[in-house]
């Protein structure tokens, strides 16, 4: 019995991590239909935000606050990722709605940029980027107020762009050559950084012969809260209603006076913020490095597609199913249960290493999608945007 409960707990805990990683994607990809390949990098930003918050609390000194930094980090991770998501949506994605291939390429490009950014970020680069944004967007804003904007914009905006780039790269070059390490020292570098969970999350809850890790329990609760929060937001609030109506029929919603652009931005940042929370959660389990998001992105897409695009409940069920299967196959439980039937047991024993279990789960998902191409919970109705 204890073995059974422990197996169930392990399966759920794998599923919870998958679900948390996929939840944001279920909104961005599922509801909005945007293939966001930078989702993993938004998780990575959340993880780095956690690292920064942890170091900030450490810098204050030893004390009780080091035990609760994780809650602050959760908010910080949500905010950082949501903000990055907002910039991504306003700056890139909104020009590409309805063009999935371009979105795919563009967000992939963004993901590469973000990875390289955290590798090489230092004060000089950030100062350069800020100066560029200030000059270019500030300049454009000023110029636009001129009465003769229409007649000069053909040459004025390229000149402005070039000037801003030139000035900010000069700044970058000058700062890059200064002696002071403040400007040139990399914030994170390309090495993995060390995030340590607070002491109360590091042990485990004794359970028979086993110990249930507190970090896993924390993630399961966090996932449950996030799911509940999303449901509450979508079903019980005014903006949630608008989000649902826009995803069902954009044109009709616009006709009825719903600000679809604002809704898009809000939905996208919400999904991104959830990615940030997931990023914060995975620091409890593994390492934090520029590539951390890439390890989760394929799994997250797999969950959303298996669950059925557009249905949150599908994502939840799919994440739990994949988590359970991964555990039962990978840990050899199925092989153990099938011991009486030797050929079957040997078959499952062959797949009972972690890397082979992934292969089998993948194969099962493909087989399932052959039978039900729209996933476990396909969206029904005529109103769905095509």
């Amino acid at each position: 019995m204890i073995d059974f409960l422990n197996a169930a707990f392990n399966g759920i805990s794998i599923g919870a991590v998958l679900l948390l990683a996929a939840l944001g994607l279920a909104i961005v990809f599922g509801l909005m239909g945007v293939i966001n390949l930078a989702h993993g990098e938004l998780m990575m930003l959340g993880a780095y935000a956690t690292y920064v918050v942890q170091n900030g609390f450490k810098a204050i000194g030893d004390g009780w606050w080091n035990e609760i930094y994780i809650f602050v980090a959760l908010f910080a991770a949500f905010l950082v990722a949501a903000l990055a998501g907002l910039i991504l949506e306003r700056g890139v994605v909104r020009f590409l709605y309805g063009r999935p291939l371009e979105t795919l390429l563009a967000t992939w490009g963004v993901s590469l940029i973000l990875r390289q950014f955290v590798r090489s970020a230092n004060w000089a680069i950030v100062a350069g980027i800020l100066l560029f944004c200030g000059l270019y967007f500030g300049g454009a804003w000023l110029l636009r107020r001129r009465p003769n904007w229409d007649s000069i914009k053909n040459w004025a905006s390229p000149v402005l762009l070039v000037l801003s780039i030139a000035i900010s790269s000069t700044l970058l070059a000058v700062l890059g050559r200064t002696e002071s390490p403040f400007w040139t020292r990399e914030w994170f570098g390309s090495r993995n950084v060390d995030v340590t969970a607070p002491a109360w999350l590091r042990g485990g809850f004794p359970f028979g012969n086993y110990q249930l890790p507190y970090a896993r329990i924390f993630i399961i609760i966090l996932t449950a809260l996030c799911v509940a929060g999303i449901y509450w937001f979508l079903q019980r609030t005014k903006w949630g209603l608008r989000v649902r109506s826009v995803t069902q029929n954009r044109d009709m919603s616009a006709c009825l006076g719903i600000p679809t652009q604002k809704v898009d931005a809000l939905t996208f940042s919400l999904g991104s913020g959830l990615a940030g929370i997931a990023g914060c959660a995975i620091t409890l389990l593994g390492s934090v490095g520029p590539n951390v998001g890439g390890n989760y992105i394929v799994d997250a897409f797999m969950v959303v597609v298996l669950g059925g695009v557009g249905k949150l409940v599908g994502t939840i069920v799919a994440a739990m199913a994949i988590g359970m299967l991964n555990y039962l196959i990978g840990a050899g439980t199925i092989a153990f249960l099938l011991q009486p039937v030797e050929p079957l047991a040997n078959f499952f024993l062959f797949f009972s290493t972690t890397s082979m279990a992934k292969v089998m789960v993948f194969a099962l998902i493909i087989a399932f999608l052959q039978v039900r191409p729209a996933g476990m919970f396909p969206q029904k109705g005529r109103s769905v945007e095509g």
């Binding site: 040459w155 070039v162 030139a166 110990q211 490095g289 590539n291 992934k358």
Partner: protein, 436 residues
């Protein structure tokens, strides 16, 4: 589209040019040596005032983290030699190339270093995949590569000198020590690629020969962080505790140690012996998760002898107080000196055959202790087991009292049992049957 007139073309063109020049200017960071630079007199390299050597490691991509530290160690050795007067009265000039963690690039850059830069030798590579990729180049051009990393063995090229540990200088003593001191039940965990699988084949043969028991093995795809099934399997296979032999690489290590601790599998009951976790990795994983676990290497920063004190001090002085030294870095440092001694004994850097012959038997007072280059192109090295302590360094709990001679061809694997390598004797070569 006649709008795009000449004036605009000039405007955009000059703007683009200007920006690119600026960007180029700020991306140029001062590095030591000449990165990819070729000189006009591309005759014999050693004929000028300098001797050119190649350094070929990944300075970008996923392997950058590890390989950059090795480059640091090589540059430190070259700088020391140059300050002390150089080799044969000439300064060493390193030509640094970036293999970019891409095996094809390694091959390309190796050819470039040999053909264009005319270097007299190359120090390089980390992964076995990159070494295998450049092997052809060095063999077909009869050139010389120095390789500084511990590896799975089963190779003995005439054109490569291996200064890292062969399996019998790291993995085998570690298994022996585990069985003698910890537990005869061993669980194998590794990343899913060539080194862990080859290493585990050796370990399985060895454990069987020593009368121990392999309770299970599992492989994690590179970069995967979900280790719950592995932890569960370890508990099922060894409910009373037992040892774990860990050949995981990279990020997975962090997840593995964090979740082992969370599941209550501590070092008293489940000691983990790692062969890819050194001082640098301890820093990244977090020492609180590794405290009390073990690692097997030839060198630890905590080795106590004057050479090591001197080296660690010099390294920290050059690269910063917070840096640590580790085994591959030490092997990289050694190989530059062994090459230098061989060149000096041969009296030439250009005649690679003479340098190769002179390298055999060279000894060097390395930070790990005295090492010796053997005719089988591997070093005799000291073997040590360390336990992670509170400082994130290793307390040395076991050390051989003399250097262990290398066996490139493994004696536990049936295919290579009884074979050895001896390049000082043209009759024997890379793989010959030993007389029993």
């Amino acid at each position: 589209m006649t709008n795009f007139n000449r004036r605009k073309f000039l405007l955009y063109g000059s703007a683009a040019l200007g920006t690119s020049v600026l960007l180029k200017a700020c991306s140029e960071t001062p590095t030591e040596g000449t990165e990819g630079e070729t000189t006009s007199d591309s005759g014999a390299a050693a004929s000028g005032d300098t001797i050119k050597v190649g350094i070929l490691h990944s300075l970008s991509g996923t392997m950058e983290i590890s390989e950059r530290t090795v480059v640091d160690a090589e540059l430190l050795a070259i700088e020391e030699i140059n300050t002390a007067g150089g080799v044969l009265g000439k300064q060493i000039e390193p030509v640094i190339e970036d293999g970019a963690s891409d095996w094809d690039v390694f091959k390309e850059k190796a050819e470039k270093l040999i053909d264009q830069d005319k270097v007299v030798t190359v120090f390089g590579c980390w992964t076995s995949a990159s070494r295998k990729a450049v092997l052809d180049v060095f063999e077909s051009k009869e050139h010389m590569l120095w390789y500084p990393v511990q590896y799975e063995g089963q190779e003995c090229s005439k054109n490569i000198f291996y200064t890292g540990a062969a399996p019998n200088q790291q993995i085998e003593p570690a298994v022996e020590w585990l069985i003698e001191n910890k537990s005869d039940k061993i669980f194998l965990v590794g990343s899913d690629y060539v080194f862990p699988r080859t290493a585990n084949t050796i370990i399985k043969e060895q454990v069987a020969a020593l009368g121990g028991e392999i309770t299970g093995e599992d492989y994690l795809p590179l970069g995967n962080q979900e280790v719950t099934p592995i932890v569960a399997k370890i508990q099922q296979a060894m409910p009373e505790g037992g040892a774990i032999f860990n050949t995981l690489n990279g990020d997975s290590n962090v997840a593995f140690f964090k979740q082992m601790q969370a599941a209550g599998l501590g070092p008293e009951q489940y000691p983990v012996m790692s062969v890819s976790v050194a001082e640098e990795e301890v820093r990244q994983i977090g020492k609180e998760f590794l405290l009390g676990h073990y690692a097997a290497w030839n060198y630890f920063q905590t080795v106590e002898n004057p050479q090591n004190d001197q080296w660690v001090t010099a390294f920290k002085e050059k690269y910063g107080e917070d840096r640590v030294t580790n085994d591959p870095m030490e092997a990289a440092y050694i190989m530059v000196y062994i090459w230098k001694q061989a060149v000096e004994q041969a009296g030439t850097a250009d005649d690679l055959e003479a340098v190769r012959q002179a390298a055999y038997g060279q000894t060097f007072a390395a930070p790990e202790g005295e090492v010796k280059m053997n005719p089988n192109h591997h070093l005799s090295k000291w073997v040590r087991i360390g336990q992670v302590n509170d400082d994130g360094l290793f307390d040395i709990v076991y050390s051989t009292d003399a250097p262990v001679d290398p066996q490139p061809w493994n004696q536990y694997v049936p295919d290579t049992k009884g074979f050895a390598c001896d390049w000082s004797d043209s009759e024997k070569g890379g793989k010959y049957q030993m007389e029993s």
